[in-house]
Symmetry: C2
Subunit: 718 residues, 2 copies
C-alpha cells in the first residue's frame, strides 16, 4: 500500500512547514506573548488569504454584485461580511463598545440561510464598491490587530472569554474561505479569472482506480469536546457522544467522476426509483441531469473548477449533494443486491479511528487538506490512509446523519444560532474536509452540516452495512406550550417554588403510609415528571395524557434520556435547554415507567388496579369532570389513594359551563369546586387530612410567569 | 293638624301591644334565654303569618301552580321557598350539615329575578302539591325551633355569627310576606278568596284631600349602620353615608288615586312627552292606560285589592311603578312650571328626620305600617307625621335614587347576591314601607330597591326642588381586565410583592434627587395609582392612558374617593371589593392630580414641561414604541427624569412585529429591548444607575396569578 504517492506535478503552494497555512491555534498557550503572536499570525494569514480569494473575480463590478446563484448574496457581501462579523462579536463580548461603520455593519450582517432550493433571496441592496469594502476591511484589520496586541489577555482563552470573539471571527472567515470558493466556482466564467495562487492541480490523466469494499471492524466511537479544551470549537462539537459501531464495509476510495459516470449513463438522473422523495422534488425543481460542476460539451465531459473548465479529470472525486449521493447508493444497492448506503457520522469516526488519523500538525498533511497541496481536488488514489484513501481531505463526504446536539450541548452566548436552526432533521453532516478546509474545518472534532440539496466541494464514500442508519434525536421543542411545560416539569426553580410534580409525588408517596406502593397512575401526566418521580417508589407507574404531544415528551425522555426545548426570553429571543433524566437522578426509574395516550373521562379498561391515582392540574381541563370523578373509584384498589390537585381554573374552552363541578351558583348558593369534589367522591372515598395549597410557577418569558396555587386533596378508597 | 284620625271601622288586627306583629328583635339581648325566646316568637309569628297569607288562595291546585304574572313563579314556589331558604343558609353557616329534602330544596332554591319586563320565565316544573309543601314546611319549622332552643348561642348575634342565618331567614320570609301579597293581588280573582285575617280596610268614602307643598328645611342626613349594631340588617344598610340636603318642598300627602286620575284623564298614558325613554318602552310593551290595580268598569273605576275589587277609594294612595310615578311628576312639572320630581333617598331621610319619626316600637304604629292597622291601604290623610302625612307606611314611596353601596359596604358571606346584582343603576330605592311592611322592612335603616317597572304596594310623594337628583356611584367594575388592574393598583399584596405603582413612584421620587418635583406625567397610568402616589411629592401630576375605561377608574377615585370592583375567586364566583383613597392615605393628593385620555405615541402639545415622566408597563403595549422613545425628550425639562419600567412582553396584538424595539434578531445578532432603549434614548438622555427588576403580581383568580418582573431604567434628560 502506497503511503504517500509522489506528486507528479509541482505543488502550487509549497508543502513546507514554513509556508503551511496556519493551523487552528493552541488557546491554552500559557505564555501570553506567544499566544498573542500566534493569534496575530492566525488572523493575518486568514484575513490575507480570504482577500486573495477575491482576486479570482473579474475586474468589473458585475463580478462583485451579480449573484452566482439565486439563493445567496453576491460576493461583495461575503467580502464585507467576515469583517463585520468581527465587529459584531467583539461588541457582544464587550471587547469594543463602538462600531466602525454602522451602515457597512448593517448591510453585511446577515447572510442568506439557504433553507430550501426555492427560497429565493429577493433582497435588493445598493452594494458599496469593492474598494470601499476593502478600506472597511482595513479598518477592521487594524482594530483586531490592536486588540490582539494590546487588549488584556488571560490564558487560556476559553468559551467564556471575551477573546473567544476573535478566534471565532477567524474561524468564521475560514468557513467563508471555503464557501466563497464554492460560490466563485458557481459564478459565470465571465466573472472569474485565473490567478496563480488559486490555480488548480493539473489532471495527470490517470484512469480512476476500480473501487473495492474493505472491512472496518466494530468498535466504540467517542466524540465531543469539553468546554475547557485548548482549541476553538463551534457549539455543536461540545458535550459527549459515545456509540458502539457495528462492523461494516466501506469503499476504499471516494467515488470518482468515473465511477459516478456509470450512474449518470445508466439514466440515474432520469430514473425516479433511486431517489428519495426529497430527491425527486429537488430533481423536478433543478432539472439536473448530471453533477452540478460537470459540463457537457460536444467534445465530451468537462469539469468546472473555480476559474476554468477542464476536460473531465476522471480520477478525481465526484462532487454532488446528499440527494445525488443517496440516489447513487440506492442505484448501487439495486445493482449489487447489497445494502449500500452513505456512512453515518459514527461510522465515519470509526473509519477515522481505525485508520489512525490525527489532526493536521506542523508537517504538511498526508491528505489533500488545508490548502497544503494546491487549490483543487486530486485523484482519489493519491492519499492513502491505511488501506483506505482520502479518509480526510480532497472533498467532504456526505453522511446519512442529520446533525444533532451531543449530551451537554450548549449554545454559545454570542452566536446562539450557529447550529440550533439546523437541528431540524434536514441538515446532514459532512465529514473529512476538502482541499480548502482549514483550521477548525480540518480537525477530527469539527461537525459541519448543510441542507441535503446544497453544494460544497463534497462527494461521497459508500459503505455496505445491514445496520440501519438511525437519525439521532435533534428535535428542539419550540411549541410554546410544550416548551413551557418541559421547563415546568424538568427546568429551573423560580421564586423559590419547589418543583411541582416532584412535590406532588412526594406528598402522594408520603400519604400512602402502610399501603403497598405497587401500581400508580399519573392521569394528565403532561410532560411526565410526576410519573418518573412516583417510579422512585412504585413498582410500576403509568403516565396517561389526552395529548399525544405531551406524552411524546415522556417517551422521548424514556428513549433518549433527555428533552430539548427552547424557552422564550424576550420577544423572538430564545434560550436553548437540554434536560436529562441522569441529572435529575431519575435514570433508574426507566424500567418502571410507561406512557400512554388516553382520556381521563373515558379510560380504557386496562388502566385499573391502582394503589394510587394522581390527577394533577387535571379536573379543570376535562370536558366532563363529573364523569371522571364518578368513575375513578373503579380503577383504585380498596384502601388506595386518589390525589387531586387543581387551581380550579374553570374555562369554557376546556369545560362547558354546564359541566363545571364547582365555581358556580348552585340552587342559589355559592358552590366551590371543593364542595363539588366532596359531593362526587364521598360515595367511594373518605377525605384524608385538610386541603393544602401547593404552588407552581410556569415560565412564559424571562420576566413573565404564571404563579398559581393548586389545591391538593387526598381521598382514600373505601 | 289631626295627629291620629279615629278609625272609622274596626281594625281587622287589633292594634294592641299584646297582638302586635312582632318587631325585629334586639340581637344584643345579653340574656340568652330571653334572646332565644324572642327569636322563637319572631320565627313562629312570621312562619304562621306567612302560611296564613296562602289561605287567600282558592282551594283548587290551579291557584297554587298558575303564575299570577308571566315573570314570576307560581305561588307554590314562594310557599316552599322561604322554608328552603332557612335550610340553605343554615348549611352555609354550618349550623346544620344535612339537608331535609334534596328535591324540595332544589326546586325551591332560586326565585326569578325580574330583571326586565320581557324576561319571561319559561321554566317548567312538576310542582309538588300544597300539602306536601306544608309537610316540608313543618319539618323546617321543627328544625329551626330545635336550633333556636338548643344550639349553642352567644350574645350578641352579629353579622359573623352562625345564628345570622336564622334571623336572615325570618326577615327574608317577611319580605316574601309582602311580595307574595302583591302576587296574590295580581292573581286572577278566580284563584283567590277572601279571608277574615287579610280583609282590607273598608273605604269610608271620604274625598281625597287637596294636596299642597310644604317646605322641608336644609339639613344633614346620616345613614348607615355599623357591623356590630343590635338589629338585623341587609348588607346594603351597612357602612356610612352623609349628605347635606338642600331645602326643598314636598307634597303634604302621598299622591291619591284622585290626584292621579287627573293625569290619567289628561291623557297621561297616551302622551309620550312626560315619559322617560325607559318609560316609553315600557308603555309600548305593557300597553298600560292607567295604574295596574285600577279596573275600569262600566259603572266606573274600581281598585283591585288582594282578594276583591272594590269601588275606587279615591282618598287612598295611588299605586304605580317608578316609570308611572316619574311621568306623573313630569306632567305635574309641565302643568305647574315648577321643578317637580320624586324625592331622592337623601331627601326622604331628611323628611323623616324633619318630622321626628322613630322605628316601630312596643305600641301600635302611628302609621299604616307593620300590619298594625289592617290589610290594605287607607286614606292619605289618616296618619299625620308633623305637618306631613304617611312619611312612613300606607304605600312605599318611589325615589329618584338607584340603589348604591355606602362607604364600607360589604357583602354578607352567606348571601353575596342579595344586593350586588342591583348595583346597576336600574333598581330604584323605595322608602317608608307599606301597610304590610314588617320587621326590617319597617325601620328607618332599611333600603329596598326594585326595577323601575316593578309593582309593589308602592306610590309616590312628589317634591319641588331645583337641586338635581344625582345618581350616586353604584358601579362595580366587573370587566375582568379592569377589575384585575383595580386590584393590581389598589388591592391586596400577594406573594409578599410590594405594591408596584407605589414602588415605582417611590423609586422615581428618590431618583429625582435635587431636581425640583414640580410637574410629573404618568404615561400609561392605567388605574392611576402611581399618579396619586407621585402627587404625594409633586406639585401637579397628570395621568394619561390610551384607554378611557382605565382613566375612568382614576376619575372615579377623584370624584367619589373610592373604587368598587368584583374579583373572580373561582369560576363564576366573585368577591366584592371597595377601595378608598382615604384608606391609602391619598386623599390629600386630590387637588394635585388630573387624568386625561391620550396616546403616548401622539401626545397632545399641552403635555410638556415635565420634571418626570413615568412610563410603567407601557412600551411593550404601544403600537409604535420607537416614536414614543424618539420624541418623549420634547416633553421633559433639562435635567428631568424619564422612568421606564417594562417586562418587555412583546406581543403582535399590541405592537406589530416590525415595530418591536428589541427582543429581535438585528443584523443577525440578538438585540434586547434594553439595547433598543439605549439606541433610541441616548441622543437625549443619559442612563442613571443600573437596570433594576421590579416585581409585580396581577391576581386572576383566588389561586392564579401573573407574577412578572418589570425592568426599571432611569434616564436623565441632557
Amino acid at each position: 500500500m502506497t503511503q504517500h504517492a509522489p506528486l507528479s506535478h509541482p505543488a502550487q503552494i509549497a508543502a513546507s512547514p514554513a509556508t503551511l497555512f496556519a493551523r487552528t491555534p493552541n488557546l491554552a498557550e500559557p505564555d501570553t506573548s506567544l499566544l498573542r503572536a500566534s493569534l496575530r499570525n492566525y488572523f493575518i494569514e486568514t484575513f490575507d488569504r480570504y482577500e486573495s480569494l477575491f482576486d479570482c473575480l473579474a475586474e468589473d463590478d458585475a463580478a462583485w454584485v451579480t449573484k452566482p446563484i439565486a439563493l445567496r448574496h453576491p460576493l461583495i457581501f461575503y467580502f464585507g461580511h467576515t469583517a463585520t462579523f468581527f465587529v459584531n462579536k467583539l461588541m457582544l463580548t464587550r471587547m469594543i463598545d463602538t462600531r466602525i461603520d454602522q451602515h457597512m455593519e448593517s448591510i453585511f450582517a446577515v447572510g442568506v440561510d439557504e433553507m430550501s432550493w426555492d427560497d429565493l433571496d429577493d433582497s435588493h441592496y445598493d452594494w458599496p464598491g469593492a474598494a470601499r469594502v476593502r478600506a472597511y476591511r482595513n479598518q477592521v484589520r487594524a482594530l483586531v490587530l490592536g486588540l490582539i496586541d494590546h487588549a488584556p489577555l488571560q490564558s487560556p482563552i476559553h468559551w467564556q472569554s471575551p477573546w473567544w470573539a476573535i478566534i471565532m471571527g477567524i474561524e468564521h472567515e475560514r468557513i467563508h474561505l471555503e464557501t466563497s470558493s464554492v460560490l466563485i466556482r458557481q459564478h459565470a466564467l465571465r466573472h472569474v479569472r485565473a490567478v496563480a495562487e488559486w490555480a488548480p492541480r493539473p489532471d495527470d490523466g490517470r484512469p480512476a482506480p476500480e473501487n473495492t469494499l474493505l472491512p472496518v471492524p466494530a468498535g466504540v466511537v467517542r466524540i465531543g469536546k469539553s468546554f475547557d479544551g485548548p482549541q476553538y470549537g463551534w457549539d455543536n462539537e461540545y458535550g459527549a457522544h459515545e456509540a458502539q459501531v457495528e462492523p461494516f464495509e466501506a469503499s476504499r476510495y471516494l467515488v470518482s467522476n468515473h465511477e459516478f459516470l456509470a450512474f449518470v449513463e445508466a439514466g440515474g438522473y432520469r430514473n425516479q426509483r433511486d431517489w428519495t422523495e426529497e430527491g425527486r422534488k429537488w430533481l423536478a425543481y433543478s432539472q439536473a441531469e448530471h453533477p452540478t460542476f460537470w459540463v457537457k460539451k460536444t467534445q465530451g465531459w468537462f469539469l468546472r473548477l473555480m476559474t476554468e473548465e477542464v476536460p473531465m479529470p476522471w480520477s478525481w472525486p465526484v462532487e454532488v449533494n446528499y440527494l445525488e449521493a443517496k440516489a447513487f447508493c440506492n442505484w448501487k444497492a439495486a445493482e449489487t443486491g447489497q445494502p449500500v448506503r452513505l456512512p453515518t457520522e459514527d461510522e465515519w469516526y470509526r473509519l477515522y479511528d481505525h485508520t489512525g488519523r490525527t489532526d493536521p500538525g506542523a508537517s504538511p498533511c498526508d491528505a489533500n487538506l488545508h490548502l497544503d497541496h494546491g487549490a483543487s481536488s486530486c485523484p482519489v488514489d493519491e492519499y492513502a490512509h491505511g488501506e483506505f484513501f482520502d479518509v480526510v481531505g480532497n472533498v467532504w463526504q456526505w453522511t446519512e446523519t442529520p446533525t444533532y446536539p451531543f449530551d451537554g450541548f450548549d449554545v454559545h452566548p454570542i452566536y446562539d444560532d450557529f447550529t440550533t436552526p439546523t437541528f431540524d432533521g434536514q441538515h446532514n453532516l459532512i465529514k473529512g474536509g476538502s482541499w480548502i478546509s482549514c483550521g477548525n474545518e480540518a480537525v477530527r472534532a469539527s461537525r459541519y452540516a448543510f441542507r441535503r440539496h446544497f453544494f460544497q466541494h463534497a462527494g461521497l464514500r459508500y459503505v455496505v452495512s445491514h445496520a440501519p442508519a438511525e437519525a439521532p434525536a435533534a428535535y428542539y421543542e419550540t411549541d410554546r406550550l410544550l416548551s413551557e411545560y418541559a421547563e415546568f416539569h424538568y427546568g429551573d426553580t423560580y421564586f423559590d417554588v419547589p418543583n411541582f410534580p416532584r412535590t406532588l409525588a412526594q406528598l402522594a408517596i408520603q400519604a400512602m403510609g402502610e399501603h403497598p406502593c405497587r401500581l400508580a397512575l399519573d392521569l394528565g401526566c403532561a410532560s411526565g415528571r410526576a410519573t418518573f418521580e412516583l417510579a422512585r417508589t412504585f413498582e410500576r407507574v403509568t403516565g396517561v395524557d389526552f395529548s399525544a404531544r405531551f406524552i411524546n415528551q415522556g417517551v422521548q425522555l424514556m428513549q433518549s434520556g433527555q428533552l430539548r426545548y427552547t424557552l422564550t426570553d424576550e420577544g423572538d429571543l430564545v434560550s436553548y435547554k437540554t434536560r436529562t433524566l441522569a441529572e435529575l437522578n431519575l435514570r433508574d426509574t426507566l424500567p418502571r415507567v410507561e406512557f400512554f395516550q388516553g382520556d381521563a373521562c373515558n379510560l380504557k379498561p386496562q388502566f385499573t388496579g391502582y394503589d394510587l391515582v394522581l390527577a394533577a392540574n387535571l379536573i379543570d381541563r376535562l370536558y366532563d369532570p363529573a364523569r371522571f370523578l364518578d368513575t375513578i373509584h373503579e380503577r383504585i384498589v380498596a384502601g388506595g389513594l386518589l390525589v387531586i390537585a387543581s387551581p380550579y381554573t374553570w374555562l369554557e374552552e376546556h369545560t362547558p359551563h354546564s359541566a363545571w363541578i364547582g365555581g358556580i351558583k348552585k340552587d342559589g348558593e355559592s358552590w366551590t369546586t371543593l364542595d363539588g369534589l366532596h359531593a362526587h367522591l364521598s360515595p367511594h372515598f373518605t377525605p384524608v387530612g385538610e386541603p393544602l395549597d401547593v404552588p407552581f410557577v410556569i415560565r412564559e418569558t424571562r420576566r413573565k410567569f404564571q404563579h398559581t396555587l393548586s389545591q391538593l386533596t387526598l381521598w382514600r378508597r373505601h
